[in-house]
Amino acid sequence: MSPTDNLQAKIQQEITELTTSVSGLVESFRKLQNPLAESHRKVPQATNQLDKISEQTEAATSQMLDMIEQITQREDEIIKDLGVVKQKAESGETTEIGALADVLTVKATTNLNDAYAIMEALQFQDITAQQMDHAASLLEDIEGKLRHVLTNVSGDEAPEKLEEPAIQKKKRAYDPHADLFNKTTNQEDIDSLFQNPKQQPVE
């Protein structure tokens, strides 16, 4: 074999190896495409959920603060009125005590109702907890896809840190559409559906 033939054979071998290597690279990129596209889609979803949690927590907190402010204002008035009742009782002016007691009863009842309304508003915790579980689940999915991508890129030399994290994943049960303010079907439509099962609720 002449030196030229040798060189030609070597070049041919190099080109073959290069082609195989490029084919492998193309295949690797193809494998990476799906998980990366899915991660790309899920990141905005998780961001939206986190934004929603922030907005709805703010709204519920504000609603509760409004009620607490009213309760404390009424409590101040009750304390002041009780002072007047005591004064009148001590000085023997008992005629107005009955009317003052009625006012105090109204204020105390309103405070009790507002306290229950705060309890009602605290339902936001269950709803935002489900929204957080949804966001966490999306982030766990993204983490899984990225692990897959990194493992493919690293091949057999996958670093140790790519091993499954030691933290045990929480069992999540959530409604991905849980919302404090927007209900897809309102209570009236649900009621009419239960009253007449054959009837379809209004969309």
């Binding site: 009602e120 605290l122 915790q125 709803i127 649900i190 559906l193």
Partner: protein, 121 residues
Amino acid sequence: MKILAVDDSPTMRRIIINTLKRAGYEDVVEASDGKDALAKVEIEKPNFIITDWNMPEMDGLTLVTTLRSKDEYKNLPILMVTTRSVKDDIMEAMKAGVNNYIVKPFTPETLKAKINQVLAG
């Protein structure tokens, strides 16, 4: 009347129990998921169940289906209280055998009205 309140959120259970007590229902027992509820049903023999849908271990829909498959619980009143407001979900719950359905967040008036409605048959 003994009511079993089933919800995986301790906050929601407290809210439901307080709302029920204010409405005059003092005898309330609680369970944290469907599996726990099935055990409590056997022990506590409630007259009424209020259940959430999304719960770990066993969800509310499976709980309803399981109870309805047993002769002794075919007529046990069940009210579902959940965040799920999609029409198909409501239809599915209805098909499973719930007697009524409330979407969270609910008002004490709605809860009381639905209990009375279910009890009135």
